[in-house]
C-alpha cells in the first residue's frame, strides 16, 4: 500500500508574542515545527503500514528549511520525504494544487493522510481540497482508522455524532488530535533516518506553469482584548466579598 502523509511546517503558535504597540502577532524569529495534528496523521500512517504493509511518503509544500522538520517524520517511520518549494505567492488553492500534482507524480497512491487542520491557521481546507481535486472519497475528523487490504473503516467525530464510514482505496483521511499519541523516535531511528531520501521538487515544473492564488491576505490585525485584570490575592473571604460586589455592579448576578 502506498501511503502519503501531507505535513505542514508551521510557526510554533505557543511562542507567538504580540507587538506591544500594534497588538499584532509578531511572526518572525519564531521556532518552526511540524503541525501537531500532522504528526498524528504520521503516527496513523505508520500503524496502517504495520497492519497491511506499505510505503510511506511524507509530502510538504514549504520553504526549503522544512527539510529539517521532514527528517523528524522520517525518524518516526516515513520511508521518504518530498519538499515542494512553495511559490512566493501562495494560498490554500495553490498549495492544494501542488500537493495533488506531487501525488500524481508519485504514481499509484492508495491512502492520503493529513491532520484535520494545521495549528497555525486552523482552516482545515487542505484535506478536502486535495480529495476534491483528485475526485476521491474524503473521510474527515477520524478518531479511529481500521485498515484492511481492500478497504478502510473510519470512525469520524462530528461533535454531536460519531459516523462510521467505510471506503475502498484510494481514499483521503483527515485525523483528529485524539486519534493517537505520536511516537517519539529513538536515537537509533533518528540516526538511521539520515540515510532516507528527501527529494526537492520545484513548484513551476510540478504545476506546469505559474499558479494563481484565489485569496490574498490583506493584513493580520491584532485582536482587541481589554480586560480589567483586577486580581485579588489577599484574605480569601475579603477577596470573595470584593468579587461579588464588583459582579453585582457589573449587573451579571441574577
Amino acid at each position: 500500500m502506498n501511503i502519503v502523509v501531507c505535513a505542514k511546517q508551521v510557526v510554533d503558535v505557543s511562542e507567538i508574542k504580540l507587538d506591544p504597540s500594534t497588538k499584532r502577532p509578531v511572526l518572525t524569529g519564531i521556532a518552526k515545527k511540524i503541525s501537531d495534528i500532522d504528526k498524528n496523521a504520521m503516527e496513523e500512517a505508520i500503524k496502517i503500514k504495520e497492519k497491511v504493509t506499505g510505503r510511506i511518503t511524507v509530502l510538504t509544500v514549504s520553504t526549503p528549511d522544512a527539510k529539517d522538520r521532514i527528517k523528524e517524520l522520517l525518524a518516526m517511520g516515513a520511508d521518504e520525504g518530498i519538499v515542494v518549494a512553495a511559490p512566493a505567492d501562495s494560498d490554500y488553492a495553490t498549495t492544494a494544487s501542488l500537493l495533488v500534482a506531487a501525488i500524481k507524480k508519485l504514481g499509484h497512491v492508495d491512502a492520503i493522510l493529513c491532520g484535520e487542520a494545521s495549528i497555525d491557521l486552523f482552516s482545515g481546507q487542505m484535506g478536502p481540497r486535495v480529495a476534491g481535486l483528485l475526485d476521491i472519497p474524503q473521510l474527515t475528523y477520524a478518531t479511529k482508522v481500521t485498515p484492511e487490504k481492500d478497504k478502510v473503516t473510519v470512525e469520524r467525530n462530528l461533535g454531536d455524532q460519531t459516523v462510521t464510514e467505510t471506503s475502498t482505496y484510494p481514499v483521503l483521511i483527515t485525523v483528529t488530535k485524539e486519534i493517537n499519541t505520536p511516537r517519539l523516535p529513538s536515537l537509533m531511528q533518528i540516526l538511521s533516518s539520515s540515510s532516507k531520501p528527501i527529494k526537492e521538487w520545484k513548484a513551476e515544473e510540478l504545476a506546469g506553469g505559474p499558479l494563481t492564488p484565489k485569496i490574498k491576505t490583506v493584513e493580520i490585525k491584532g485582536v482587541p482584548m481589554s480586560r480589567k485584570n483586577i486580581v485579588y490575592q489577599d484574605d480569601l473571604d475579603a477577596s470573595i466579598n470584593k468579587l461579588i460586589c464588583e459582579l453585582a455592579k457589573e449587573g451579571v448576578l441574577r
Binding site: 482552516s123 462530528l158 490585525k221 485582536v223 451579571v252
Partner: protein, 317 residues
C-alpha cells in the same frame, strides 16, 4: 447573488439574514439551497427572507461531502452567485473546502466578518490560535465563506414574503465511501453557545467527582451551564464534548464566564474571548488566564469554590 447552504436549519436562517446585509452590493438576491430536507425548511427559509430556495432531493439522503459538493458545484455553475455562505458545522466545513477546490476558487473558513464593497469580497478570521485576525480578500469568484453559528439573528418571519421555491430531483454520482452507522454522541443536550452564565473547569480539578464544586457554583449563579477546557473533555473525558470550550471546541459569549483551575492556554482563550465579564480562579498567580480576566482570585479552587458558592447564595437571599 448570494447563495447559502447549511445542513443545520437554524444556521441556514442566520445565513439568509447575513446574506441580506451583503446582497445590496451583489445584485440583491439571496438564494438558499436545501438538500434532502423537509418541505417546511424551504418554506421557513422563504418566510425568513430568502428570495428563492433550491429545494433539492437526491439519491444520497444522508449528508456526504463528496456527493453534496458535486451538487453545489452544479448549482453554482448554473446560477453564478458572487458569494456562497456555508454554515460552519463540521459537515459544512469539509463541504466548503471541497466545493472551493472543485470550483477552483478561494475559501475562508469560520469567518468572523464578511464585507462586500462593490463586488470585492473580504472576510476576516481568527488565526494563530487567537493571536491575530487575518483579513482575506477574494481574487476569485465565487467567494466561498463558512460562517459559525449565531453570526446574525434570523429575519422576522413573514408568511407573505414572496419567494420562488424551485424543487428539483437530482441523481448524484456515488462515491465508494459509505456511511455504515451514525451514533448520537452521549450528550446532555447542553448548548454552551446559548448560555448566559458559564462556569468552566480545567486541569486544576483533581477528580471527576469534583465537577460538583463547579456545578454548585453554576447553580448558585442561577446558571446551569458547566464548561471545560480541552483536557477535561478530550483527554480525561470527565465531561462530554458539549462542554468543551476552545479553539477546537465550542466558542461562547456568555455575560459572565468563570474559569476555575484553567491555565489559560491561547486555545482555550480563543473559545471564550468574546465573553462579557471574565472571572478567573487559579492557585498560580502567574497563570495566563489572569491576563484574559476582568477579575481574578488567586487561591486553591477547592477552598475558593465552596466559599464563593455559599457567599453568592447569601448575596441572593
Amino acid at each position: 447573488m448570494v447563495m447559502i447552504y447549511s445542513d443545520n436549519k437554524k444556521i441556514a436562517l442566520e445565513l439568509v439574514a447575513l446574506g441580506k446585509t451583503l446582497a445590496p452590493n451583489l445584485s440583491g438576491k439571496v438564494y438558499a439551497v436545501t438538500i434532502n430536507q423537509p418541505d417546511t425548511v424551504a418554506k421557513d427559509l422563504a418566510a425568513h427572507g430568502a428570495d428563492g430556495v433550491h429545494e433539492v432531493t437526491t439519491n444520497i439522503t444522508q449528508f456526504k461531502a463528496e456527493e453534496y459538493a458535486n451538487l453545489l458545484k452544479d448549482l453554482v455553475t448554473e446560477h453564478k452567485p458572487d458569494l456562497v455562505l456555508i454554515g460552519s458545522t463540521k459537515n459544512g466545513k469539509e463541504l466548503a473546502a471541497r466545493l472551493a477546490a472543485l470550483l477552483d476558487t478561494g475559501c475562508v473558513m469560520d469567518a468572523t466578518a464578511v464585507h462586500a464593497q462593490g463586488k470585492t469580497i473580504t472576510a476576516e478570521r481568527v488565526v494563530y490560535s487567537g493571536n491575530g485576525i487575518a483579513v482575506e480578500q477574494f481574487t476569485s469568484t465565487p467567494a466561498i465563506v463558512s460562517i459559525p453559528p449565531r453570526a446574525a439573528e434570523p429575519l422576522p418571519k413573514n408568511e407573505h414574503h414572496h419567494a420562488n421555491i424551485m424543487k428539483k430531483q437530482v441523481t448524484l454520482k456515488e462515491y465508494p465511501s459509505k456511511i455504515q452507522s451514525i451514533q448520537e454522541a452521549t450528550s446532555e443536550g447542553i448548548k454552551v453557545e446559548d448560555a448566559e452564565i458559564i462556569v468552566s473547569c480545567g486541569r486544576g480539578l483533581k477528580n471527576k467527582t469534583d465537577i460538583q464544586l463547579v456545578s454548585d457554583l453554576a447553580t448558585a449563579l442561577k446558571g446551569k451551564t458547566v464548561g471545560c477546557s480541552r483536557p477535561i473533555a478530550a483527554d480525561l473525558k470527565w465531561l462530554s464534548e458539549d462542554h468543551w470550550i476552545g479553539l477546537s471546541g465550542h466558542k461562547v459569549k456568555p455575560k459572565l464566564y468563570i474559569a476555575c483551575g484553567i491555565s489559560g492556554q491561547i486555545q482555550h482563550i480563543a473559545g471564550m474571548r468574546d465573553s462579557g465579564v471574565v472571572v478567573a480562579i487559579n492557585k498560580d498567580p502567574d497563570a495566563l488566564i489572569f491576563k484574559s480576566a476582568d477579575y481574578g482570585i488567586v487561591g486553591d479552587l477547592y477552598q475558593v469554590l465552596p466559599k464563593l458558592t455559599s457567599a453568592l447564595k447569601e448575596h441572593s437571599a
